[in-house]
């Protein structure tokens, strides 16, 4: 049998795969950016116990946690147009590209997961901090922005980092609906050249580099936010 792994093929693959990194990054940036906003809104509804919205978000978060992303992607890719087009007379079914639906899926998914992380972080800050804010005359919003938020960021950072690393990997699902990212590119190189291992190994290296960079960055951010505590690993 032919050699399973060849360095030549490995290096030939690099320029073929690298350009698709931008697709992966775009998904991650959209999902994180809008996901954070959505998560903030969900947490607000939870904390304020807003009627209707709060129970609705509970079911929504449970669904996003409880079902495979693949299915979420399908339901959004095929289900959303089926719901919206007949009502508004639009044709987003064909009008929106596959990648748009991928963005929507990842934003909705991240919103749910990040809301769980943020909620956990906020509720773990001693309530005395809020009370102290009130006692010096800050409004609720001021207390949140100036006292709770900075402390929350520190607590939420490590799980947020794990989540982000996972997001990079999950984004490879989009190949199923025809959006080519680095992982999809590796797969298609496999199909075209009959050798997939080298491409996969290179993609794994990219993922590991990204993951280490994120951890390092977050570790650095964390040390900035220690507020005088002794560093924990």
């Amino acid at each position: 049998m032919d050699k399973l792994f060849g360095w030549e093929r490995f290096f030939e693959n690099i320029p073929k795969i690298l350009p698709y990194l931008s697709v992966t990054f775009q998904i991650v940036v959209y999902a994180t950016g809008f996901g954070v906003l959505l998560a903030a809104f969900i947490v607000l509804a939870e904390l304020k116990k807003i009627p209707v919205l709060n129970p609705f978000f509970k079911v929504y978060v449970s669904f996003m946690r409880g079902t495979p992303m693949l299915v979420q992607l399908m339901i959004i890719y095929y289900g959303i147009p089926a719901l919206i087009d007949p009502v508004f007379g639009t044709n987003i079914n064909r009008g929106f590209s596959a990648v748009t639906f991928a963005y929507i899926t990842f934003i909705l998914n991240q919103g749910a997961f990040l809301s769980a992380i943020f909620y956990g972080a906020i509720t773990s800050i001693p309530y005395g901090q809020t009370e102290a804010g009130f006692s010096v005359g800050l409004t609720e919003l001021q207390t949140f922005r100036r006292i709770l938020l900075p402390q929350m960021v520190r607590i939420a950072l490590p799980p947020f980092g794990s989540d982000l690393v996972g997001l990079f990997q999950n984004s490879s699902l989009v190949f199923l609906i025809g959006v080519t990212d680095i992982m999809g590119r590796a797969k298609s190189i496999g199909a075209a050249t009959k050798h997939v291992l080298e491409a996969y190994v290179f993609v794994v290296i990219i993922y590991i580099v990204i993951s280490l960079t994120i951890r390092l960055l977050f570790y650095y951010l964390n040390t900035k936010l220690e507020y005088g505590r002794e560093g924990v690993e």
Binding site: Q129, S135, L138, P150
Partner: protein, 251 residues
């Protein structure tokens, strides 16, 4: 002037405050005494709306509100006229000593940052923390944290300051210094309600002493009356334990 009337508060079935009323004249210092669990902390918290009272009225200066039905705006108004010193300090963990002290000035009172820093530094100097401006709370000893909390309240120059055991973490030297500070502030005409176990403080600076037990005001009067001539059996009993303790080392 601060006046609290007919405050009631229950946690579940436990009636923690059963119709408590307290009245304090401008610039007066009231000390609240009482055994553990008698509702002292809860009373202070109700006054600052950190706890929702079941009923009662509150008047500070010319602001008059119902403790149960106050609007958000009224609550903010009351809170900006008062300051609170917490038993467990509750310093902002993400801010240095100086930032803790100026937070209320800058964000709630909209005083320019420069001016606020100047006042904040004065307040910290005043409580003996001139060298700790830029330390975070977790790097301060318990006593130092407590003093930051006190400075944070004083710097606001509010009409009323509520103290919840402000000297529990301090060694005797610092207790003395803190009480000196409180005395000075009383001289400035700020009204104060102080929950404390320090009898010497009650004797020294209080205009009035209130003795609470099981959610009611058992007895109130001038320090002399309460300490030398308590009318109620429960007060007498509480004080006798303390006095027998302390009399040992009156040199």
């Amino acid at each position: 002037m601060i006046e609290v009337k007919n405050v009631k508060k229950a946690f579940g079935k436990q009636q923690v405050l059963k119709d408590v009323s307290v009245e304090v004249e401008d610039g007066q210092v009231v000390v609240v005494l009482g055994p553990s669990g008698s509702g002292k902390t809860t009373l202070l918290r109700c006054i600052n709306f950190l706890e929702n009272a079941d009923s009662g009225q509150l008047a500070i200066g010319d602001t008059c509100v119902d403790l149960k039905k106050a609007t958000k705006k009224q609550i903010l108004e009351i809170r900006r006229k008062t300051a609170f010193v917490f038993q467990n300090y509750n310093l902002f963990a993400n801010k240095t000593a100086l930032e803790n002290v100026i937070e209320g000035l800058v964000t709630a009172r909209h005083i320019p940052r420069e001016a606020a820093i100047k006042r904040g530094k004065e307040a910290l100097d005043w409580v003996g923390l001139g060298e700790k401006y830029h330390c975070y709370p977790c790097n301060l000893s318990g006593g130092q944290q407590q003093r930051v909390g006190i400075a944070r309240a004083f710097v606001l120059n509010p009409e009323v300051i509520l103290f919840d055991e402000p000297t529990s973490a301090l060694d005797p030297e610092l207790v003395g210094e803190t009480l000196d500070i409180i005395k000075k502030v009383a001289g400035r005409g700020i009204t104060m309600i102080v929950v404390t176990h320090e009898m010497s403080f009650a004797q020294d600076v209080a205009n009035k002493v209130i003795f609470m037990d099981e959610g009611i005001v058992v007895e109130e009067g001038s320090p002399e009356e309460i300490f030398s001539n308590p009318k109620e059996e429960r007060t007498r009993q509480f004080l006798s334990r303390i006095i027998s303790l302390d009399s040992n080392y009156s040199i």
